[in-house]
């Protein structure tokens, strides 16, 4: 299960809407081992594409180093699909490289209603998780 503060949920959806029709991507960092997403980090899509995303390698290096220094990890890795459902594609699955992360997919294909789903992707296996939007993690 992924528990996400409503403000973070809103930021992901806003980023996906802003970059539509290109795919948007980013990270929510949290204290290592906490499974608690806290710090919203929108990333550039170096591909600037409606069908592909890739973090810019130098931006990724800086962000990953910063997380390391703060004893954080990427708790959430999100990206948008702009014409298809919010479900990991074959490419998403084959490049998934953070077994500890929640992979969040947002679809902006409907201009009114964003689909928002979360998955674990480990060794090519996709498992969908419940998403709980809640202000207080104690509500879990």
């Amino acid at each position: 299960m992924l528990t996400l503060h409503p403000a973070l949920h809103a930021k992901i959806v806003a980023h996906a809407r802003a970059d539509h029709p290109d795919e948007a991507c980013g990270v929510i960092a949290g204290p290592a081992g906490s499974d608690h997403p806290e710090r919203f980090i929108p990333m550039l899509n170096a591909e600037r594409s409606p069908t592909f995303y890739r973090f810019d390698s130098m931006e990724q290096f800086r962000v990953w180093r910063e997380m390391d220094e703060r004893d954080e990890e990427p708790v959430v890795i999100y990206h948008s699909h702009t014409a298809t459902e919010a479900y990991p594609s074959r490419t998403d699955i084959s490049y998934a490289s953070e077994p500890g992360a929640h992979y969040v997919l947002v679809s902006t294909r409907d201009p009114e209603q964003a689909e928002f789903r979360a998955f674990r992707i480990i060794d090519g296996a996709v498992t969908e998780e419940d998403v709980v939007i809640a202000e207080d993690r104690m509500l879990e």
Binding site: E23, C25, V27, M43, E47, S49, P50, T51, F52, Y53, R54, F55, S57, M58, Q60, F61, W64, R65, I77, H79, H81, T82, A83, T84, P88, S89, R90, T91, D92, I93, Y95, A96, S97, E98, P99, G100
Partner: protein
């Protein structure tokens, strides 16, 4: 002194869980060969016949080695090499 190589979570199965390992060599290619002698299989995850794998990022100190000399980039004692899997995907 040696060259420190930082290993991402997903590749730590090759390093017995270690976050960083040490190696030596005159170029990145030599260094990866040296690492492979102690951490068998690691090199294969980073390079293929065409050079560095497309979805692996390797940095020498603060630079992406793609902007330096790729596998032929010279490395020196005291350098830090960081490996990060690219974060990528898409609708197709």
């Amino acid at each position: 002194m040696a060259i420190e190589v930082r290993i991402p979570t997903i590749l730590r199965t090759y390093t017995g869980g270690a976050k960083s390992v040490e190696g030596s060599g005159a170029t990145l290619a030599d260094l990866l060969g040296d690492l492979d002698s102690r951490h068998g299989g690691l090199r294969e995850r980073l390079v293929d016949d065409g050079g560095l794998r497309r979805f692996v990022n390797v940095y020498l100190n603060d630079e992406d080695v793609r902007f330096l000399g790729g596998l032929q980039t010279p490395v020196h004692d005291g350098d830090t090499v960081t490996v990060l899997p690219a974060v990528a995907g898409g609708a197709c």
